[in-house]
């Protein structure tokens, strides 16, 4: 199990116009391996390489989308960024400081700038606290303001996410899924963070509620200058909110580019298959699906060489042996792909809607 060499350049696909700007967040060669314990004495027999050498940057005011199927490591990466996991290796520079080296006490003052919104607001909200208490808690933890000031701030936050002031006295179960997600967002923005990691924030919501919450996230970003790491499996949703998109497969980024470029000009066979597999809400659009064979392999026993090779329609002997590094494909800029080949795209979707 040889380690994958780190990339020569830390940030191979900066957003267009980022020259001279300092990224808010810079993840370098991040690895998050979990021990797999088996047998009578629960010895660690193997490790699950959930995140295996990821480089990623997020600039102020930018949204970076993380897309991939279950088990690709996108949620683990998100949780590692806000230090809900202690990464196995690598650096997480946030405003120039490596979060991976901080202990809990050193981490605490940074946490107010680094928040998370979870998929299921039922699980992430304390069922026995009123919404008002939940929203006041971040201020209390960080020792900001007195009680009446906090109460006032909680009411302002409710207004900001489109909930009535009387919501403060109620409990999470008295709200619908969409409203609970608004509460989760209100808590995340309470301390005026700089970066919010949103982990599948609309996946559990109905279609008509999904668009309300996406609009709210976009409004808050414009208003507060927030950066988002937006994790989802729905490529159409991610593309709508993101400036750049990273496609993940088995713990690694396989393609990273501007959101429009990922859709218009995907270079990795996996990205192409993902795009072709999205069911389009348009019966006139009878496209040719690229159906990948097999399942996503286990990150405990990843395939040799390119992790995508067992499912790739274009795999060669080289793919079975050699791990492809991220490189800038010809004819692009600010675009990286981890594939040995520059394959022609046979079935591009028609342009426009």
């Amino acid at each position: 199990m040889s380690a994958i060499p780190a990339m020569p350049v830390p940030d191979p696909s900066p957003p267009a116009g980022a020259a001279g700007m300092t990224p808010l967040l810079e993840v370098r060669d991040l690895r998050m391996h979990f021990p797999v314990r088996e047998g009578l004495f629960l010895r660690s027999r193997a490790s699950c390489k959930a995140v295996d050498g990821v480089n990623l940057s997020v600039y102020p005011g930018e949204t970076v989308g993380l897309v991939g199927e279950s088990g690709c490591g996108k949620s683990t990466l998100g949780k590692s960024i806000v230090r809900l996991h202690q990464p196995t290796a690598g650096q997480i520079f946030f405003e120039g400081i490596d979060l991976a080296t901080l202990n809990a006490a050193q981490m605490k003052p940074r946490r107010r700038h680094l928040q998370m919104v979870f998929q299921d607001p039922v699980e992430s909200l304390n069922a026995r606290h009123t919404v008002g208490d939940t929203l006041e808690e971040p201020f209390a933890i960080h020792g900001i303001g007195d009680r009446s000031w906090r109460r006032q701030r909680a009411l302002e936050l409710l207004g900001k996410v489109g909930l009535p002031a009387d919501a403060a006295g109620r409990f999470p179960f008295q709200f619908s899924g969409g409203q609970r997600q608004r509460i989760g967002i209100a808590r995340a923005i309470a301390l005026e963070p700089k970066l919010i990691v949103c982990d599948e924030p609309v996946s559990a919501l109905d279609v008509s509620i999904q668009s309300q919450v996406l609009n709210l996230l976009l409004e808050l970003q414009r208003e507060m200058g927030l950066s988002y790491v937006f994790i989802a499996h729905n490529l159409a949703v991610v593309k709508h909110v993101s400036d750049r998109i990273a496609i993940m497969y088995l713990g690694r980024i396989v393609e990273f580019a501007a959101a429009d470029a990922i859709y218009r000009d995907p270079r990795h066979p996996y990205t192409r298959a993902l795009i072709s597999a999205i069911p389009r809400p348009d019966p006139a659009f009878r496209k040719q699906r690229i159906v990948l064979p097999g399942d996503v392999p286990s990150p405990i026993h990843p395939p040799s060489g390119c992790p995508f090779h067992p499912r790739c329609p274009h795999a060669t002997e080289r793919c079975r042996i050699e791990v492809p590094l991220l490189r800038v494909p010809p004819g692009t800029s600010n675009h990286t792909v981890a594939c040995h080949y520059d394959l022609p795209w046979e079935n591009p979707p028609p342009a426009g809607g």
């Binding site: 109905d206 008509s208 976009l218 490529l235 399942d295 996503v296």
Partner: protein, 330 residues
């Protein structure tokens, strides 16, 4: 219009109620549609619209004793399933009408092997010989694209991936060559690339076996790709129904329009404001009188306090809106 002999399953004026602490709630209220041989009918709507309850009503699998079919008829093979004795319903269920559920892990029994569960279907409906049943099970697993089925029959559900499990569930649903298969969110729990595999498999099996599919989903993309006709449900009633091309090209109900406009499109303008449907689906205990969409509808008028009938827009395309003729062109 539909030729009458083409219809394999006809739901007329179905009313399904639940007895709860809050009184009797009507989850499905006067729903009618017909399913045609070899075709796919989509039923789409948000949570609480009654789409799954409609499926459970057809299968007579409503939770007991709360759930009850309070009115209407479900005609299938010359019989009314609503009044069929339970013993005869056993033959229909799994024999002539198959069902595919959303979560294959809960649809399968975790303590029995795949082979035992699948051959049980054949033992119930096709043969008395367990050896023959097992052979039929192996053939069926091969048909749904499970590699080395002779080995897989000895495995338990947890040993299979989500996509493979859903293939097993599809094998069970199709084992007895049913005339109709009801698929309730069959790909919602699956990853995008696995969803593509399962949708392709369902289409291939339909081409081969000719069964009708009732596809229940919240995903308008899946509807557009798979269905011939579609029923759009809202709060227990049909808002609009018709051929899939017509519903997507010229939706004539404000709810259908709202749904189609609110989904982010991959080819759309990034970071633009999505159009929304205000408010949320009313709960069954506080439904408005008349049109159930009125409190969220931008075209509401006083007349919406009366229930709008399903009016014909064009052949096969019907909508339940008083103002469908006046809606602005899209």
């Amino acid at each position: 219009m539909t030729a009458p002999d083409d219809t394999v399953l006809e739901v007329s004026d179905l009313i399904t109620t639940f007895d709860t602490d809050a009184g009797t709630l009507t989850a499905v209220d006067g729903v009618s549609f017909s399913v045609r041989r070899g075709r796919t009918l989509g039923v789409v709507g948000e949570s609480g619209c009654g789409k799954s309850v409609t499926a459970l009503s057809i299968m007579r699998l409503l939770p007991q004793p709360m759930g009850r079919i309070a009115g209407g008829a479900i005609h299938f093979g010359g019989r009314n399933l609503v009044t069929l004795p339970p013993s005869e319903m056993l033959e229909v269920r799994g024999g002539q009408i198959g069902m595919i559920f959303q979560e294959p892990m809960t649809a399968l029994n975790p303590v029995h092997t795949i082979g035992r569960q699948l051959s049980e279907v054949f033992l119930l409906h096709r043969t008395k010989d367990s050896g023959e049943a097992l052979q039929l099970a192996i053939d069926m697993l091969r048909k749904v694209g499970i590699p080395s089925p002779e080995v897989r029959i000895g495995e338990y559900p947890h040993q299979l991936s989500g996509g493979m499990r859903q293939r097993v569930v599809i094998a069970m649903a199709l084992a007895c060559k049913p005339a109709v298969v009801i698929a309730d969110e069959p790909t919602t729990a699956l990853d995008v690339t696995i969803q593509a595999q399962i949708l392709e498999l369902m289409q291939a099996l339909q081409d081969e076996m000719g069964m009708a599919i009732v596809l229940i989903t919240h995903d308008l993309g899946v509807i557009a790709e798979m269905c011939d006709d579609v029923v759009v449900m809202y709060a227990g009633r049909i808002a609009e129904t018709g051929p899939v091309e017509r519903i997507f090209a010229s939706p004539s109900h404000p709810y259908t329009r709202g749904l189609l406009d609110s989904i982010p499109r991959i080819e759309g303008q990034r970071k633009s404001r999505l159009s929304i449907i205000e408010g949320m689906v009313p709960t069954l205990s506080e439904l408005p009188r008349g049109c159930r969409f009125q409190n969220r509808c931008p075209y509401r008028i006083d007349r919406c306090a009366e229930q709008p009938p399903l009016e014909t827009v064009e052949a096969g395309h019907r909508t339940a809106c008083h103002r469908w003729r006046e809606l602005p062109p899209r």
